[in-house]
């Protein structure tokens, strides 16, 4: 019996050239029709569906030897899945990686948009679990496709308004739906709505990959992106009562860390690069001295 045919070497960035071509065509159509979900023949990747296979395929299709890649999960470069995906590309594409937002040409992200403003030429690749913003209102693809075709988004407004009637607020706090260039209602992936204002008029190109659901969509630079709202209930983002305990930043998105079982909490930046840069620049939070992380 012959030895198992386990390949010794994979193609650059893992995907074969034919697959890359197919994904590249989908990406170009996605850019041409902002906010529209382009179906693509998502491949089975060597990591589980739901763990970033869509983002990984988009990154693999666009990345070149000169790119500098940053991967974040929950805003952090050192969460295990971010580490794992970064290692995947370092291994299969041999590209340079970074944790610094400003140095990256491609940033693959799950659940956050970096605090540091993005620049022209950068590409932000989102990992998307459920690309269809109408899915939780109507589970059938055949129905939602027609709703997008007819620009029939009344159901979404009804849902948001029901929230207001029940809670006094729109109860959607992440994956908050947006309308792109006045046409398609789009799911920005499960970023907190705090990040929604960064989607519009960004100098960077934003690409969204959903592997299991086999969809790619995009927001080109400088595109109009509006979070859905009502005149009497305008869209608003989360605010935090206190600044980051480590770097003192206000107006950044914070993680809540439970310190003990007596109610002591620490709020720290979810964007680890942003926080470190600020501390390097001399900013100091109220709890920085006592809480210096050991790495």
């Amino acid at each position: 019996m012959s030895a198992p045919a386990v390949p010794a070497a994979y193609n650059f960035a893992y995907l074969d050239e034919q697959t890359k071509r197919m994904i590249r065509r989908a990406i170009l159509k996605a850019v041409a029709i902002p906010g529209y979900q382009v179906p693509f023949a998502s491949r089975e990747m060597p990591m589980p569906y739901g763990w970033g296979t869509g983002g990984v395929q988009v990154t693999a299709a666009i990345i070149g030897a000169d790119d500098v890649l940053k991967v974040i999960d929950q805003g952090a470069d050192d969460t295990t899945n971010a580490v794992s995906i970064r290692a995947f590309f370092a291994k299969t594409a041999g590209v340079a990686t970074t944790t610094r937002t400003a140095d990256a040409t491609i940033i693959q992200t799950r659940h956050r948009i970096p605090e540091t403003a993005l620049k022209a030429g950068q590409i932000l690749v989102f990992q998307v679990p459920i690309p269809e913003p109408l899915r939780f209102l109507e589970p059938r693809e055949t129905e939602t496709r027609t709703m997008h075709a007819l620009e029939e988004y009344g159901l979404m407004h009804v849902k948001l308004y029901e929230d207001i009637a029940r809670h006094g607020h729109i109860a959607t706090t992440y994956a908050y739906p947006v309308k792109v260039e006045g046409r398609y209602v789009m799911d920005p992936s499960p970023i907190p709505k705090f990040d929604n204002p960064k989607l519009g008029d960004s100098p960077a190109l934003q690409l969204f990959g959903a592997g299991r659901e086999k969809r790619i969509y995009a927001i080109p630079p400088h595109t109009r992106v509006e979070s859905l709202d009502f005149e009497d209930h305008p869209f608003e983002v989360q605010r935090f009562a206190e600044p980051c305990g480590l770097c003192g930043a206000t107006g950044a998105y914070l993680d809540e860390v439970i310190l003990d079982d007596r109610g002591n909490r620490l709020f720290v930046c979810s964007d680890t690069d942003f926080c470190e840069e600020r501390r390097r620049a001399g900013h100091c939070g109220a709890k920085a001295a006592a809480m210096e992380p050991t790495s």
Partner: protein
């Protein structure tokens, strides 16, 4: 098949097609800008190197390609594309995933190409339109996604009807064709979402 159909492809397909794709992505994401293509393919004339590189990067067995009369006059271009991409050549523009046009003056109207449906607007033709360059006398003034305020592009030569057809294409949105303009070594793009505006009518900031 002409003997030169076998030559003139990418020397290093993986690396070079990635570079061409990124130039295309950049052009498509920022209408009005031009992206230079480095050393790439040497297709048989009248297919120019930039148009050849775009097709060699994106076309394959799954993408029917339409060639205009000038490109299909001799079999050399079809042979070259067939060998390097495997793409089937079609004569009906409404079946084309890609359409290569060497003679913009004589091209079929944009509405003759595949325009996609309301449900699947992505199932539409991408035109690769050969031009001499981007220094023409008449500017197309563009606005829309990818453009901060307004952008100017001066591809030439283009038929007089082109601006009107582009407006018609925009009116179909989200259906419509997308256009890659290919000069010898540089490309620009006019994705369907782009709007033509009058030069004196720049949007307020």
């Amino acid at each position: 098949m002409a003997p030169d159909a076998l030559s003139g492809g990418f020397a290093d397909p993986g690396r070079q097609s990635q570079a061409v794709f990124r130039a295309l992505l950049d052009a498509m994401a920022r209408p009005g800008t031009t992206a230079r293509l480095g050393q790439g393919v040497r297709p048989p004339p009248p297919l120019n190197p930039a148009a050849g590189a775009v097709l060699a990067t994106l076309a394959d067995e799954d993408t029917p390609v339409f060639l205009d009369a000038r490109l299909s006059a001799q079999g050399a271009v079809a042979d070259w594309l067939g060998f390097h991409t495997g793409a089937p050549i079609v004569s009906d523009p409404a079946e084309a995933a890609f359409a290569a046009i060497a003679d913009p003056e004589g091209m079929p109207p944009l509405a003759a190409f595949r325009l996609g449906s309301d449900e699947y607007p992505d199932r539409s033709t991408t035109l690769v339109l050969q031009v001499d360059g981007f220094g023409g006398p008449l500017p197309l003034v563009l606005a829309g996604p990818g453009i901060a305020r307004a952008a100017e592009l001066r591809p030439h030569p283009l038929p007089a009807r082109f601006a009107e057809e582009l407006r018609g294409n925009r009116a179909l949105f989200p259906r419509g064709v997308d256009i890659v303009l290919a000069a010898t070594d540089a490309i620009a793009a006019l994705p369907r979402a782009v709007r033509l505006i009058d030069a004196g009518d720049l949007p307020c900031t």
